[in-house]
């Protein structure tokens, strides 16, 4: 079965995560994705490099594509790209605002070459507004969007810590972009019309915090307004980041009782996570743990005067219980009552996890330079259109000649572009 985007051709001018991962998501849906790199290559080739120009991150974020090298800093290189564009359905880029115009790869220029082109731009802060021209990367936009402070983590030097080892704003922007491209293909199929799609790391960061970033005055008057006032006063008085976070952490919190059963605890030989969302889930956990005197569910006033002491007492009971047994014992009991719980697994073990294996989430693919590897596969499975690809990430410059030939360049033209340094990798790099 072909993928849902079978026959759709995507040209990607992108690096690091947000743009490249969008390309991978489209490739997983069956699109033919050609990645256009500068002679030095995507910078993520050098983050944790284990062979020249090859890193685990680049492999994970660029599988399923073919790779070409064109020097877009020269007008000659730009004309190569301009000759390719009419044969492509989609263009994906995550260059900083202004750069696309400078290298003649902006929407207006490319839409003149192919009027129904679907053009996706991913930027840090967007294409307008006071921060549009600022440099952005995932962790910076985590900070700007409130995600970092919202996670309330402080490192041992009193500085903020990223919310996670992953890059949430990048991934959500990439996925938003892929969604926009698919919706735009649907629209083009119905109307013949192409368009420009803009997605930002900032919008992604806010979407990830939608429940907290919003303003609902009726609700905020009680919980959020006092917090805003407190933060403003503390800042006025010169409070440090660590002090601000401590104040946030210790404020009256409606969610504290909820968090007893939605939290991690140590067990004898590792750590376990409870993930109760409903009163039924909490009852299941209480049954598994034999906790009989917990008043936090019925008509419990989570911001009442005794709430903190009651919550602390129950939390301590749960902690002591779980610490007295092993992972296997507790997981068997929790699974038996149907409670949501999981061992805290190690990513390094996940390639061999039986559930991951059963769902074939990490297929083996073969990289032309570095051999067989197992990668996180497609995000979704579809019953009528295959997802996934058995192509690894492209070595730098691997497909330049083949792609140009396929799109109407003669061998002579390719030879002379190569000797002029317009296409092909930087030999010194």
């Amino acid at each position: 079965m072909p993928g849902p985007l079978d026959g759709i051709k995507v040209l990607e001018l992108a690096q690091i995560i947000a743009g490249p991962f969008c390309g991978t998501a489209l490739a997983d849906l069956g699109a033919d994705v050609v990645k256009l790199e500068s002679p030095q290559g995507d910078a993520s080739r050098r983050i944790g490099q284990f062979a020249p120009g090859e890193s685990k991150a680049f492999h994970g974020l660029n599988r399923g594509k073919r790779g070409i090298v064109v020097d877009l800093s020269s007008t000659h290189g730009q004309s190569v790209a301009h000759r390719l564009i009419p044969q492509f359905d989609v263009f994906v880029t995550n260059v900083r605002p202004g750069v696309a115009e400078r290298i003649a790869m902006d929407y207006d220029t490319l839409a003149r070459l192919r009027s129904d082109l679907i053009y996706l731009e991913v930027t840090g802060y967007g294409t307008r507004g006071p921060s549009a021209q600022r440099a952005g990367s995932d962790v910076v936009v985590q900070a700007y969007s409130g995600l970092l402070a919202g996670d309330m983590k402080v490192d041992r030097r009193g500085a903020p810590e990223p919310i996670t080892a992953s890059a949430p704003s990048d991934y959500v922007a990439a996925l938003g972009g892929a969604m926009g491209v698919c919706a735009a293909l649907f629209h083009r199929q119905r109307t013949g019309e192409g368009q420009c799609i803009s997605t930002t790391l900032l919008g992604a960061g806010l979407a990830l915090q939608a429940p907290w970033a919003g303003d609902v005055p009726v609700s905020d008057a009680i919980l959020i307004e006092p917090l805003r006032r407190m933060m403003a006063e503390m800042r006025e008085a010169g409070a440090t980041y660590a002090e601000l976070i401590e104040a946030r952490r210790s404020r009256p919190n409606q969610g504290r009782a909820f968090r007893i059963y939605y939290a991690g605890y140590p067990v004898k030989d590792g750590a376990i996570i409870l993930g109760a969302l409903t009163p039924q889930n909490r009852d299941q956990i209480r049954r598994a743990l034999d906790i009989v005197d917990d008043p936090t569910d019925d008509d419990f006033n989570a911001i009442g005067p005794d709430a903190e002491a009651i919550v602390a007492r129950i939390e301590e009971q749960i902690r002591a219980k779980l610490a007295s047994g092993t992972m296997q014992e507790w997981m068997a009991k929790l699974d038996a009552v149907g409670a949501p719980a999981s061992p805290v697994n190690w990513l390094e073990d996940m390639a061999d996890d039986p559930q991951v294996a059963a769902m074939d989430m990490m297929p083996t693919i073969d990289h032309p330079l570095t051999g067989a590897e197992r990668q996180v596969g497609p995000l979704v499975r579809m019953s009528k259109t295959t997802t996934g690809s058995d192509r690894a990430s492209p070595p730098l410059d691997a497909d330049t000649d083949a792609v140009l030939r396929e799109h109407g360049f003669s061998d002579d033209e390719i030879g002379s572009l190569r000797s002029a340094g317009v296409i092909g990798a930087d030999a010194s790099g």
Binding site: I16, S44, V140, A213, V344, V356
Partner: protein, 432 residues
């Protein structure tokens, strides 16, 4: 201009975040989304409830939809779904595997009624495999997938500390679901064929780590195998989570230490700043702004070896130097200097204050809505713009049972039929 999914009709039986958020995304793209709830309502209505059945979380994850209440345990309630489904393009469900079958709303039951239906099922662990039937939630997928331990965060009791500021697995699953629905609509437009789509929180969480999760023997022999060996040794002797993290952490700190100098947070004289450098060019921009020369920081020079014995010491020395510089001036001044240099850096904002941020306002990310019960509200709008088919928030979240009568009437139910369905408890919240 209409949205890209203008005219597309979506019926959802979802709750909490992953399923509902997918519905919001499709609604932002222009689809007409109808949410089916039980008489008790989506569990999210009760999390942080500020008016009966109304919570901020529910408002956010259900804006732009109409809401109807059906009792799917009741044969008449089920029959309503079977009648509506004929006129729908997309059906979304996030329930435990087995539940759709029990309620008669699984793909095999609905497909004969509408062969070109696009049916999306999101579960915690996926539809098959040893964990398929286990209960799940975002935090469970964080733990199970390795995301939590990968963060190497541990609380004061030695337990794992979760990613709290958001629900990454839920969002990843919601977004991949929406992508798949759009791709399936495109496929249906070209071929007329509908299909079933499966997504899971586990696959979503794995995706967020795809750069680290892979197995790549050439690289792993050097970088990963020692970690796995260390972890196995701690497990062998029944060690704690904290000990496992310590065993695992060493090599990451060593290899990533120099990178994290310029990809992490520092205190300033009046707050905190975050650096996000991913290239040597970015790091040079920061060094220039801080007034650090190649002698102060050798970590980007060709002969710096992150695996060498003295590398941790060098990194610590550079970190002290950078910390000292940042501590000497205000966040505002440092951000201005780093902007000037073109380096990625930002002040650390608080989420509750983002509504008023000038950049957020310039982009129009927040949208003003009016909820029929709780009044005006400002919500995070669609996370992307489209030039020909604009994305837009189509309205607030529905009150429980807010649109049942209207939707049933739209799909051909007479007033008498609706009244009798209501009387029998097949639709609506009844008198309770």
């Amino acid at each position: 201009m209409p949205g890209a999914l203008d005219g597309i009709k979506v019926l959802e039986v979802t709750q909490i975040i992953a399923g509902p958020m997918c519905g919001v995304m499709l609604s932002d793209l222009g689809a007409d989304v109808i949410k089916i709830e039980s008489a008790a309502g989506d569990g999210m209505r009760l999390l942080g409830q500020f008016a009966p059945h109304e919570s901020k979380g529910y408002h956010v994850f259900n804006r732009g939809k109409r809401g109807i209440v059906l009792n799917l345990q009741n044969a008449d309630g089920r029959a309503v779904v079977h009648r509506l489904i004929r006129e729908m393009d997309v059906f979304l469900i996030n329930a435990r595997p087995g539940v759709p079958e029990r309620l008669g709303i699984d793909y095999d039951s609905l497909r004969p009624l509408n062969p070109s239906l696009i049916y999306l099922e999101n579960t915690a662990y996926g539809p098959s495999g040893p964990s398929a039937h286990r209960a799940g939630a975002d935090i469970i997928a964080q733990a199970y997938s390795g995301l939590m331990a990968g963060d190497e965060k541990v609380d004061e009791h030695g337990g794992p500390d979760l990613i709290t500021a958001t629900t990454p697995a839920d969002f990843a699953a919601a977004m991949t679901s929406s992508i798949a629905v759009c791709a399936a609509l495109f496929h249906r437009e070209r071929t007329g064929e509908g299909q079933k789509i499966d997504t899971s929180l586990l696959a979503g969480a794995m995706m967020l780590q795809n750069a680290f999760a892979s197995r790549l023997p050439v690289s792993d022999a050097i970088m990963l195998q020692p970690v796995l060996d260390g972890l196995a040794a701690v497990r062998e002797r029944g060690g704690s989570y904290r000990e496992m993290l310590a065993a695992k952490g060493g090599i990451r700190a060593l290899v990533g230490g120099a990178f994290l100098l310029y990809y992490g947070g520092y205190q300033t004289s009046d707050g905190a700043i975050m650096l996000g450098c991913v290239t040597p060019t970015n790091r040079n921009q920061v060094r220039d702004a801080l007034g650090l020369g190649p002698d102060d920081d050798p970590t980007d020079s060709g002969d710096f070896n992150a695996m060498a014995e003295d590398s941790a010491e060098i990194v610590a020395r550079v970190r002290a130097l950078i910390s000292e510089r940042f501590a000497a001036d205000t966040t505002e001044n440092w951000v201005a200097k780093l902007d000037q240099a073109g380096a990625p850096a930002a002040q650390v904002n608080m989420p509750e204050e983002m509504v008023d941020d000038p950049q957020v306002q310039a982009l129009g990310i927040m949208v003003d809505l009016e909820h029929p019960i709780t009044g005006p509200e400002t919500m995070v709008g669609p996370p992307f713009d489209m030039s020909a088919t604009p994305t837009a928030a189509r309205g607030s979240s529905p009150p429980l049972d807010g649109d049942t009568d209207e939707v049933l009437a739209q799909y051909g139910y007479s007033a008498e039929e609706i009244a009798s369905l209501r009387a029998s408890g097949a639709v609506g919240i009844g008198s309770g």
